[in-house]
Subunit: 901 residues, 2 copies
């Protein structure tokens, strides 16, 4: 048996690695008894050897020869025969579909002698010479690497001199002349005549296909699609069939269902008297596939039968390419068809109904990214638009509103019923109110994990960030467009967070029914009437049935908690308390920071206590009966004060011209200077702050305990868990836990409600915490992996700084396959998660493990978290359905042992 | 056998854990036949049980009774006997000496009846009643927790009314009266009479000693000395012997050699007719021990013989306490004696000479901290001084000079022959020139690992930092003292980096001969004539003989390299290139940063190339024949530009009043804003910068290669190694290595010198690098652990920010035993080092492993690096001898399996 060449009977659909997708599926069809033109496939292994060594394997030519002989026997024709030549096509076909990225050469076998044989046999000299000129043209361009325009110019000239518009209006003499000129071009450009030896043509074409693996466009495509560069392509050498032999011939493409909507029934296009490349080139308009029935019922019926057979066999939507040669149907390709996200859900459910797949398999047919797509609001694609810039698609969705450059203004306008887009160079925690009030956020700086992007995604709010073409001047409330025009506060702008596009004026929006379903605003009848929603509901039910992993939400207020619950969260995995310190409470926090006596500090804390307690009461009520993990204050204190550069400049200017800076500003400046940190990410935060500011964390613990007591007295079932952030050493947690336990006992005594069982745990968000998890677990009753911070410290870069600076460079160079802030870096950060999970559980077998970083809602990361045995993931409310789905998919992936991603 | 009480014959010197140091050594002496008063020891286990449960073990009282009976039998006296009472002392004694931190009660067994017996037996009623009042006083204060002043007041009154100054002038009647009054105080204050039952006295005293383990001063002392809080103390119950029975009696302390200089010959003090506490209280002046020979030759001779025996037995300097009771010598304590650093070296060598210990043991008797002490310049301790403040002892040494507040001024003055102290609120890389020029650095902000401290230690430059009492106003060039006085630029100040003290005016300095020895400025005769220098030389030779670990130096210029070589470095482990970008070259770096075209950037790089090449030529020459590891540029570019706050304020002010900011300032501001990072430590640095700024790292590689080629052509033997900083993923290194290899080939071709074998490696300074070291080692030919950065990212704190903020708090609370920037955190950072070393070596067995963080010169850390099998440590030139010594000590530690630290 040959090593580098396979015939159809040796292949099957599972040999994609070796035979490529096209070759494997042709073999599969052949073996199913479906008519496929006799074909052999040169393996990807041969390609890899060729690409590595620069020449094909020594035995390849002989192997090809041997298989050509088989094709000749099957066809009863001989390659290059002057009477009745066998013609071959040479087609690329890699493991993963790379449509149009690599090369194809048709009509191999034609030469000055055999073209006459083809003319005689087909009784169609025009067809024969048209086929010959096609070979010369493709060979010249693809194999000999000549400029394609040289050939196109000749064709254009011929049409011009004949006064016709289309190739189809040229006759045999025209083509004979064109053939002569094409041969001249080749001889002139390469210094060699076009090879008349068909075997030389064939081998050269095979090499050209190998080489096309590394064409610029192929490399670019692979990078974008994350296809490994080392796979290589297989090459399929097929007996030519012709759809261009007259009205009984034709060619088409089809899907076994509608790939856009998932609706049942075949869906395709047909072109009479044409070859595949004519369909692609769009020379004539295609007709609906259904019309083939009237043209050639027998061929149509056979096609329908084959499509039905394929779908049952592949258990999925298939797409196909076929040719009818004088009434005889040939299948040229099939594969599991690409489809829209909506179609994926609908089809998966149809296939369950049809008994073709089970629920577990249906889960493998969809994914979280698809579901996320279905949840974003979107602009009406048919509406006219004026695009003014393109930034990063930071948080999907479509939003329109008046431009505002200031968060307070955003809140004011929004309260008065206006829709606004918050426009900033970049955002900071102070903009939160404005971000909540706005329909969307547009920034000119920062990447996909900038503050604006992260917070927006967390809120399910549309965001375009880093739109650098826009010159945003916050002070003058203007935005200069690339063409020099100026937009001003109050002007209407529309932003598409799915594409990153920014439009002038209003673009109408389409609201997604899937979100309405999750929100519970659709009636049962409405769900039943909508194929997509019904399918999503069914898939979600399956995911919930299979999944082992719990899904909680990151929510800081009652509204988000309630939404998370509607979206299927089984608790709050991360309730950040810093947002409770902003807005109108900022003045209290300033008092706390500026307090220069213990009494002053105590007074400020006491003023904050009832406000925090109120927050918790609302959240516990919204999540009644479900756990709420409250993280004690994490960010450094100076985040609550003005920026040092801003206030320094203000004071300096006031000192020079304003008659001196105000005492208030001077005090503030002194505090800002005192608290200023070179690297706030690595500064006085989290538990360090709790250990430094006496009473801060215990005030928060007291607010939690008192809120819980109040809820219990009101007949509720609050389930708080207290989480200490940024622990790096077990002592830190132990000291804090002791203090929290004291507060629990105090409040228990004061209220008469037993609160001493509130779990106390910690974030694992520093490498050292992961590396000493065994010690930390002695005190911690739960771990929650803060994978955002853990990624920052493990890699040593802060997402505020690096993403815009070098992430795109790193992605382009292949250092990152995907941003480690988007998908968990399994080798580095993941290893720490695994170490901590294992050693934590070893020290405390009942240790509860969760994750509350952004990765909790990322499909690939969810699978990893499932695999390392975490108990739950927590993500933003809007990502909860995605996480539920992926948790279900992870479960069936685990069960089947195959990776569905 | 009893569980909680040991008699002397059951103990020995190795049972310190159980019997404490005093108890173990008393047993040892007893078993050597040395006269020790009959004693039993209550174990630390009993103490721990007492401290945990709040009461002593149930069996303890009975065990004590049993052992008291043995003491009674040995003495032929009975406790509390009215005719001839046995008296006991109750003394604390923990595993580690905690001098004066815990309690002692003497004369247990005296009561109203037995005091008369003692008076009769001793024929000295005054002595008996003095002893009784001492018991009452100690018991009242220590056991009953009464205010000691109550008793002192009575004594003072008695002396006053008798018109005498000293207790010794009071007679028996005075003491009888005092005893009565003391008993009154006890009854009045406690509501109970002083217990007449000697066994009740004894048990209460034992409990008091247990309790004193947790006295405030004991807790504080343990924290400072890193003694674990859970050890507890043993209690020694000794038969009383009396040095206060007249002129044939006395008490003393002694060392077997001079603990200050190490000089041979006994050294001690003696006090006639006195008890131990009188020596401590300093009531009378002691006489030199030698004078005992004339007072009581027999006792003296016996003592000399015992001291000689002890030294031979303990193989070390011993200190002892003894009492002579009416001509009979009793040993009350011995232990291996504390000594100065100088004495430690001298004695260790004497003991080798005397054949008592071998060289390996001598290495265990000294350590790197001691050696470091011997290397610092110091103020003459006898000189008069005016102290004005105390800061942190950041970098040891003693420096005097004129105050300058500006680095340029420092350089100017220094060039003109003036000694200066650079005075700043804090320093930054721009101050480097000034720091080099200055004798020492004084700052009012920042901790022991602030920029000033780290750089100063690296340079062996004296530094006091964080002297917060001083109000430093750089703009007005003044320093306000705590008393309100003002010092100005040009005033003389002296700083002691060993104590952190700051003095007004000049304090004369003593230059350390050990440094002169390392510098090679002492003749052989001078070395031979100086006990200390000779001993240090001998110990260093032993360390070099034993050590496995190489020692290199961190050096950025030829001068440091040459010094490092003199100090015994076998190469440069870290040659930072950023310092080569400062000073007069800053303008070139600014050009590079501000260049807005590729050509402009190339031009700037080309201008830098010959300068860098020149730097390397000098360094390679200084280190000819030895490896020089050059780290490519690490810090973010904005470190070469002005501070954002400063320039923003300057531009803002100029815009308001100065008629507009200059174009230059505006351009600079724009660049500063563009490059500004929230967390520069986690930003665009190291290899990220190299991958972003085209040509930067290859320019540096070219400068290295060209310098090497030039040195080779000049007959030299340069051994450069190129180190890529801040690698987190193997792709980063691979891309850079490919680029460096290209440069090597280019320069090889251009110069005709083969440079293609220059090793290329990486820093391991990010957790991810350690976690993926196996992959990185595929490209890296060496690893150098950057433990400073690795500590920062593993713990998630930046040393710029945290040390002043919460490190002292963390040290106080016991979260840190020692700052992880000072000594490597073995559990967290060390685990990463271990993982990387193991997995790196697995992937590439010949991988060379070193460390170039500050920890490379830290004694404890050196031992760890030796244990995990690194090939070398690299540290600042001044730490090289310390590292050599510790590497030697680590080797003998490994060999013996015992931990010498």
């Amino acid at each position: 048996m040959s090593a580098y060449v396979y015939d159809l009977s040796q292949g099957n659909k599972d040999l994609k690695d070796l035979l490529g997708g096209k070759g494997a599926n042709l073999a599969e069809m052949h073996n199913m008894g479906i008519p496929v033109p006799p074909t052999f496939t040169i393996t990807t292994e041969a390609c890899r050897e060729y690409l590595t060594t620069g020449s094909e394997p020594a035995s390849l030519a002989a192997e090809i020869d041997e298989h050509v002989t088989s094709l000749e026997q099957a066809a009863g024709k001989k390659l290059g025969d002057a009477q009745d030549p066998l013609l071959l096509s040479v087609r690329s076909g890699a493991k993963f579909s790379m449509p149009g990225m690599m090369e194809t050469v048709l009509n191999i076998g034609l030469n000055d002698a055999s073209v006459e044989g083809l003319a005689a046999q087909s009784d169609n000299p025009r067809f024969a010479y048209d086929s010959y000129r096609r070979l010369l043209q493709m060979f010249g361009k693809t194999v000999l690497d000549l400029d394609g325009d040289l050939f196109e110019d000749v064709l254009d000239e011929a049409k011009l001199s004949r006064g016709v518009a289309s190739d189809t209006d040229l006759d045999v003499n025209d083509f004979k002349a064109i053939v002569a000129r094409f041969k001249g071009i080749i001889a002139e450009q390469t210094g060699r005549d076009f090879p008349q030896d068909p075997r030389e043509q064939l081998l050269a074409a095979v090499r050209a296909v190998f080489n096309s693996w590394n064409s610029e466009r192929a490399i670019l495509y692979r990078k974008r699609e994350n296809i490994p560069a080392e796979l290589g392509t297989a090459v399929n050498v097929c007996t030519m069939v012709f759809g261009n032999l007259g009205s009984k011939s034709g060619t088409g493409v089809a899907f076994t269902r509608d790939p856009a909507s998932g609706a049942q029934g075949v869906y395709g296009d047909y072109l009479e008297n044409a070859q595949g490349e004519d369909v692609v080139a769009g020379i004539r308009n295609t007709i609906p596939l259904l019309d083939l029935e009237t043209i050639d019922k027998a061929a149509y019926d056979e096609l329908m039968s084959i499509m039905s057979t394929l779908e049952t066999h592949y258990k999925d939507l298939c797409d196909i390419e076929f040719t009818v040669q004088e009434g005889k149907l040939w299948m040229l390709q099939t594969r599991v068809g690409k489809r829209t996200a909506a179609a994926a859900f609908v089809i998966a459910c149809q296939l369950i109904d049809e008994g073709i797949i089970d629920e577990a398999e249906a889960l493998r047919r969809v994914d979280g990214d698809m579901l996320a797509q279905l949840m974003f609001p979107r602009f009406d694609p048919t509406a006219p638009k004026t695009k003014i810039a393109k930034g990063m698609n930071a948080s999907p969705g479509a939003a329109t509103g008046r431009m505002v450059f200031d968060s307070h203004e955003a809140v004011d306008l929004s309260v008065n019923g206006h829709k606004v887009i918050l426009v900033r160079r970049e955002t900071n925690p102070d903009d939160l109110g404005g971000m909540i009030a706005a329909q969307g956020i547009l920034t000119s700086r920062g990447g996909k994990t900038s503050h604006a992007a992260v917070v927006a995604r967390g809120m399910g709010k549309t965001c375009v960030c880093g739109a650098e073409e826009l010159d945003i001047d916050v002070k003058n409330r203007t935005m200069k467009l690339p063409d020099g025009r100026m937009m001003r506060a109050g002007d209407i702008v529309s932003i598409d967070g799915t594409t990153g596009e920014v439009f002038e004026g209003e673009v109408p929006v389409v609201a997604p029914p899937v979100v309405q379903y999750f929100e519970g605003t659709l009636s049962e009848e409405e769900v039943a009437a909508d194929d997509l929603v019904r399918s999503v509901a069914r898939i979600m039910a399956a995911a919930d049935k299979f999944r082992r992993l719990g899904v909680r939400a990151n929510a800081d207020n009652a509204e988000d908690s309630a939404r998370a619950r509607r979206f299927g969260a089984s608790g709050v995995g991360l309730c950040r308390t810093e947002h409770m310190f902003l807005g109108t409470r900022r003045s209290l926090v300033e008092r706390l920071i500026l307090a220069d006596t213990p009494d002053g500090r105590t007074a400020a804390l006491e003023a904050l206590l009832p406000l925090q307690r109120g927050d918790f009461i609302e959240i516990f009520e919204a999540m009644d009966g479900l756990p709420v993990t409250v993280r004690l204050l994490d960010p450094p204190l100076h985040e609550f004060l003005p920026d040092i550069t801003e206030i320094t400049a203000r004071v300096a200017v006031a000192e020079k011209v304003g008659g001196g800076a105000s005492e208030e500003d001077k005090t503030l400046l002194a505090a800002v200077e005192r608290l200023h940190e070179q690297n706030p990410m690595l500064g006085l935060r989290g538990v360090r702050l709790g250990l430094s500011i006496k009473g801060l964390f215990t005030m928060q613990a007291r607010a939690i305990c008192e809120a819980a007591a109040e809820r219990i007295k009101a007949g509720g079932d609050p389930r708080p868990e207290i989480m200490v952030p940024l622990v790096g050493d077990y002592h830190e947690l132990q000291i804090m836990k002791d203090a929290i336990r004291r507060v629990e006992r105090e409040v228990s005594e004061e209220t008469g409600v037993d609160l001493t069982q509130i779990p106390v745990g910690t974030m694992i968000e520093l490498p050292r915490a992961a590396l000493t998890a065994g010690e930390i677990a002695e005190s911690a009753e739960f771990f929650s992996f803060g994978t955002n911070d853990l990624t920052q410290t493990t890699w040593g870069f802060s997402r505020d700084d690096v993403e815009a600076e070098f992430f795109s460079n790193y992605l382009e160079r292949g250092i990152f396959k995907v941003s480690p802030f988007e998908s968990l870096d399994v080798d580095g950060v993941g290893r720490l998660v695994k170490i901590a999970a294992e050693e934590g559980r070893k020290a405390r077998p009942e240790l509860h493990l969760g994750v509350c970083g952004e990765h909790g809602g990322d499909p690939a990361s969810v699978h990893f978290f499932d695999k390392v045995g975490l108990d739950y993931v927590s993500c933003s409310p809007f990502r909860v359905p995605v996480a539920r789905l992926e948790a279900g998919r992870a479960a069936v992936e685990d069960a089947s042992g195959s990776d569905t991603r």
